[in-house]
């Protein structure tokens, strides 16, 4: 069972403004989904499995450290897509 304080904290982490009714509904849904997925705890991981921290095989793909312009897009194209912008910048509220 997920407590309401926990769900409120999750909403903060997720940057989601949710009303109390939805928070309660999500707490319930998360409870039943987590009940389902917790079956993974019954799996015995073989001792010889290498340590893994993410879902992908640990192979890095490199390229030369050379600036390769992305020809299709200009900076201007990207800036005009921002909801708040002026000629050369994306505008945001102050952070500090």
């Amino acid at each position: 069972m997920i407590k309401s304080a926990e769900v409120e904290n999750l909403a903060i982490l997720a940057r989601l403004a949710l009303d109390p009714a939805e928070l309660a509904a999500i707490a319930k849904d998360l409870g039943s989904i987590l009940d389902y997925v917790k079956q993974l705890s019954e799996v015995t991981i073989p001792a010889d499995q290498p340590e893994m921290t993410d879902a992908m095989a640990p192979i890095n793909v490199f390229r030369e450290d050379v600036v390769a312009p992305f020809p299709a897009v200009s900076t201007g194209d990207l800036i005009v897509a921002a909801p708040k912008h002026d000629e050369h910048f994306v505008r945001v509220k102050k952070i500090l």
């Binding site: 982490l13 998360l30 997925v37 079956q39 993974l40 073989p46 299709a72 897509a81």
Partner: protein
Amino acid sequence: MTIIEAQKQLRAGELTAGQLVERCLAKIEADNPKLNAFLEVFKEAREQAAAADALIKRGGEWPPLLGIPLAIKDNILIEGRIASAASRILQNYRASYDATVIKKLKAAGAILLGRTNMDEFAMGSSTEHSAFGPTKNPHDPTRTPGGSSGGSAAAVAAGLALGALGSDTGGSIRQPASFCGVVGLKPTYGAVSRSGLMAMASSLDQIGPLTTSVADAELLFQTIAGRDPLDATSVAPPAGAISPSPEAKFKIGVPEDFLVGLGEEVLINFRQTLARLQALGHEIQNISLPYLKYSLACYYIIMPAESSTNLARFDGVRYGDYQAGENLFADYAQTRGAGFGPEVRRRIMLGTYVLSAGYYDAYYGRAVRVRQLIQNDFAAAFRQVALIALPTAPTTAFKIGEKVSDPLQMYLEDIFTVPANISGVPALSIPSGRDARGLPFGFQLFAPPFGEAALFALGKQVEQHDLA
């Protein structure tokens, strides 16, 4: 009409690209209002058709998909076009570049008819979670077409396009293909570039074709596949692979102990297809993949986790809808709270939970390790058999509204499809008859990584001998 038939008629001069596109546009105008398969139709399709006809008239070499009208799922970027992932948060977003698969389709001369409806940010198995209304199943408009590529599947099934692209993270191409009676392919992870596909779960997503024939799926796959410097997870297929002959006989593995929780009619249909294959000379063998049953649990940890990370970028700052708050945090929270639909909010919360401090190891960390065991299971199985068969979905198309209020019931729809995404192997869904209500069944084949050729070879045999 299949793509290959259309190509024959175009070459023979029996049909022009203009006529082909007009037919699709007329059908869309007549049928799309009730199906809601397309969110937007691109009027430029007529100009593209005229250009294609001019090229055809000039003679000489043809790009392989010249004049062929295709539909594109709303999460694949087409430069200058709105791409909304069926979400309010991107309802006015215009793509600033072409996805690599779109570049390839354009170079191949294909005509892009429009963008198709989907579950919002690909989160769903019914297309009911679109912010722009559900898509209806062409076989029965009271039922869902499946999801999340429901618009693409319905468009192809209803003849509104000759083929379509979708994306598949846990079955989102194959399950709607099954529900709509069309062919759907999830390629090997890495076979097709994800550059320009709005990322859902980066270790699971693949773009793939939905078509009315296996040969068409093969053609579209070959057009869009290939290593792409813009997608570091894309891989060139290993050199020297031998394509099986069209009459090749395969040893097909069936994980019998995994055939639980499915509809009675689905199971009977599946066994009938296996019996037909056996009669054709294929060998059917019971195999055991001990960790396969944990695939769905792995998926519903890994996918929300990766999605919650990928959807963090939608915050009203660089693109999309924006809701002003008192401060920057409130900007984010209100923009996202208002712009994302309920299923997206639910999965982001689930993903945030399984990645949060104190739970990361128990959930995400564990899921990643069990995933490796499932991959090992597949690798071991493919040392004994050439292909693996399962039904595509545990049910045929369910009614609109039937599962939408019970997330876990909806998630269980993915039980037979997620193993392919979890393990990275390719999988094909082929139409396999109809149930008592006339709703399509799907027969699913899995192959080893880069084994698409075997899928197509056996798929064509299933198609040719279909008793539907």
